[in-house]
């Protein structure tokens, strides 16, 4: 039997979850580049293989990407936050109110939205760490609470629009080549990456995910660490709310509906274990990209366009991809177990 040897350092990198996901992403991209790029009646190249489309993919990924980044440390601690999408909606509404109704300037209103995000995340943190309630239940509650508040404040009818061009620049224009919000997304990715992989905080998240009791006995401030990850998620949700509002040029109570599930999907697809302890920010970024490319690529395929079913199909395929990734990640273990039992059934012959 071949064992792990010196010639396969790069092979083990390829066979890591991230490596396989990267290959899937490349395959997706090449597939859509080939089949999703067309020439229209005016001999202009359109579809997936255009720079504009690539930037659109990046643009559309930023909000869900930010939420996925916020969820990565949380899921590493074996927690969950279902309220991020609702908090996005609440922050968007309050940002609109502070600017439009209270007459504050955009930067002040944005700061206000970030404070609201921190308060929302803080509420989750408080309930989870002080009262030791399960994160699933707490955030299921705040999921309804935040969305309900947003709807109550606006009575489901008010929409804030007519934001100044300087604010819309954030979501609709480019800055140094990339969509403006992509810079924020990349910066947050770098920060979360550093936090998770380059600091003792990151190690403590994993330790808590593996065993909160063990972490406590090891002297880790489990409560404070947990509070931190939920607080970060709140602030990042507010950031995503500002980007969302700027991209669409409107703030409405339904902003970000269902985003929490897309974000969790991306994190899990990226190889972070829902049971905590294992995972990486790189994986999350790849997960976000794999879903975004799939969704946008499908919409460019002529056959899908004719069926007018891009949304449904991308939902189906994202689900399939996730299940496949999960199956793929447990398959080697089953395979080696099977092999072990298969081999041990026969007498070992020396060679």
């Amino acid at each position: 039997m071949r064992t792990a040897s010196t010639n396969s350092a790069w092979k083990s990198a390829v066979f890591s979850h991230e490596g396989i996901l990267f290959l899937v992403l490349v395959a997706e991209w090449v597939f859509f580049y080939h089949f999703g790029t067309t020439v229209n009646r005016h001999d202009v190249v359109v579809g997936f293989g255009t720079i504009d489309r690539q930037f659109d993919i990046l643009r559309h990924s930023c909000e869900i990407g930010l939420l996925a980044l916020a969820l990565t440390p949380i899921i590493l601690t074996a927690g969950i936050d279902l309220s991020v999408g609702s908090l996005l909606g609440l922050c968007a509404i309050l940002f609109g109110m502070l600017w439009h109704d209270a007459g504050l300037s955009i930067p002040v209103a944005a700061a206000g939205a970030l404070v609201v995000g921190a308060l929302g995340g803080g509420l989750n943190a408080l309930l989870i760490t002080w009262l030791r309630l399960p994160p699933l239940i707490v955030t299921l509650g705040t999921y309804s609470l935040f969305r309900g508040l947003a709807e109550a404040i606006t009575r489901g009818a008010v929409t804030y629009t007519d934001f100044p061009a300087s604010f819309l620049f954030l979501g609709q224009e480019r800055w140094y080549g990339l969509p403006t919000q992509a810079w924020i997304f990349l910066a947050v990715a770098a920060l979360v990456g550093l936090l998770v992989h380059r600091t003792t905080y990151g190690r403590s998240f994993r330790a808590i995910g593996f065993s909160p009791e063990g972490a406590r006995y090891a002297g880790l401030p489990v409560g404070r660490r947990l509070a931190l990850v939920y607080l970060i998620a709140g602030v990042v949700s507010a950031l995503a709310a500002l980007i969302y509002t700027s991209r669409l040029g409107q703030a409405k109570a339904d902003a970000g509906t269902g985003y929490e599930l897309f974000a969790i999907t991306a994190v899990v697809l990226g190889g972070t274990s829902i049971f905590g302890g294992v995972g990486s920010v790189t994986g999350t970024l790849l997960g976000v990209a794999a879903i975004a490319v799939l969704k946008n690529g499908l919409a460019c395929l002529p056959v899908v366009m004719r069926m007018n079913g891009a949304e449904e199909l991308s939902g189906m395929l994202t689900g399939a991809l996730l299940l496949l990734a999960l199956t793929g990640s447990v398959l080697p273990k089953y395979l080696s177990n099977w092999r072990a039992s298969h081999h041990s059934a026969r007498p070992q012959t020396p060679t």
Binding site: A27, Y33, H34, N40, G49, R53, N308
Partner: protein, 329 residues
């Protein structure tokens, strides 16, 4: 065995990479992209049926896509997708006026023409709005239909959604105007709100009938009001004696129409709306229909009036026993 997935992926990638950037020549036909508020909504499905008929007659490709629920953010994403696909014209029913206008303006910047229907965007983000019904058209049609059913004489009452809603007040204004102008022998005895609730409409209608024994007709100008009033009339055993008409959707009134309780339901013909919108979109894309035009001819439906930048679908459509089963929304 272990390396199979990797090799497969590599082989696949290489195969596609070798072919790329192969570019397929797409449809040489003009592409019309139609956006409903929600693509599963029966109202828009019947718009689509009309649009498909028009697309076939015009020899253009019709894309019909929208959110599965009414979601402004998804509408924008679909439009951005159409922009990179380089469609020729976008025909949109807008969930949120301001939100969608950003995306539509971006489309216009890329040379894509925009026409709106059913629910308008901001005027600077589209060339024309296909207006399915003016308040004047609705008010006059309701009053004319009421007069026809009562031989232009006797008492009638109105159920509104609320006394303050702007569209309801607008319709009331034209109903009143038509009444004073053309039907002197008719008398509006009572106007009551039902808060857009069927139950409330039913109790209001019951109260109306007992307070006004000579009442000949109830007109409901909000959609829950029509079946509500019909149920009241039916339960009072006054079917045929007190007529019911109103503004509403065919499906929720079919039963009462077939039972003879409700005589007519007034709305617009959604298939015609889809048909006209598609014709208008194609004409704008081909530069045959330009701002400032006074009228527009749309295939077999004939010529439509244009007021400013609104193409008027014209008179509302009357659903009755003879035709209501052809519509499913």
């Amino acid at each position: 065995m272990k390396y199979l997935p990797f090799r497969l992926l590599l082989a696949l990638s290489l195969a596609f990479a070798a072919l790329a950037p192969a570019v397929h020549a797409a449809d040489q036909k003009l592409v019309v992209a139609m956006l409903p508020k929600a693509k599963g909504n029966a109202y828009f499905i019947s718009c689509k049926a009309g649009a498909e008929k028009a697309a076939k007659e015009l020899g253009v490709t019709l894309l019909f896509d929208g959110p599965t629920d009414s979601n402004a953010a998804k509408q924008n994403e679909i439009i951005e997708n159409w922009i990179t696909l380089g469609v020729d014209v976008i025909v949109a029913a807008c969930e949120n006026k301001e939100g969608i206008s950003t995306a539509l303006r971006k489309a216009q910047k890329q040379g894509i023409k925009v026409v709106t229907y059913d629910a308008d965007a901001l005027p600077d983000s589209r060339t024309f709005f296909v207006n399915q019904a003016t308040p004047e058209g609705i008010g006059y049609s309701l009053m004319d239909e009421a007069a026809r059913l009562t031989n232009s004489e006797g008492e009638f009452a109105i159920i509104t959604a609320s006394l303050t809603a702007s569209n309801q007040r607008e319709w009331m204004k034209y109903i009143q105007a038509r009444l004073t102008e053309k039907y002197p022998k008719m008398k509006l005895v009572l106007t009551r709100p039902c808060d857009d609730l069927k139950d409330k409409a039913q109790s209001e209608a019951t109260a109306m009938m007992s307070a006004n024994p000579n009442l000949k007709l109830i007109m409901a100008i909000c959609s829950p009001g029509v079946p509500g009033a019909a149920e009241a009339v039916k339960q009072a055993g006054k079917t045929g004696k007190v007529k019911v008409i109103g503004l509403g959707l065919p499906n929720e009134n079919k039963r009462y129409v077939h039972e003879g309780v409700t005589d007519s339901v007034i709305l617009w013909n959604t298939m015609d709306l889809g048909y006209l919108s598609t014709y208008a979109g194609v004409a704008v894309a081909k530069n045959e229909l330009k701002p400032g035009a006074k009228s527009f001819k749309a295939g077999t439906l004939g010529t439509f009036e244009i007021q400013g930048d609104n193409i008027l679908l014209g008179k509302p459509f009357i659903f009755n026993q003879g035709n209501i089963d052809q519509f499913d929304f």
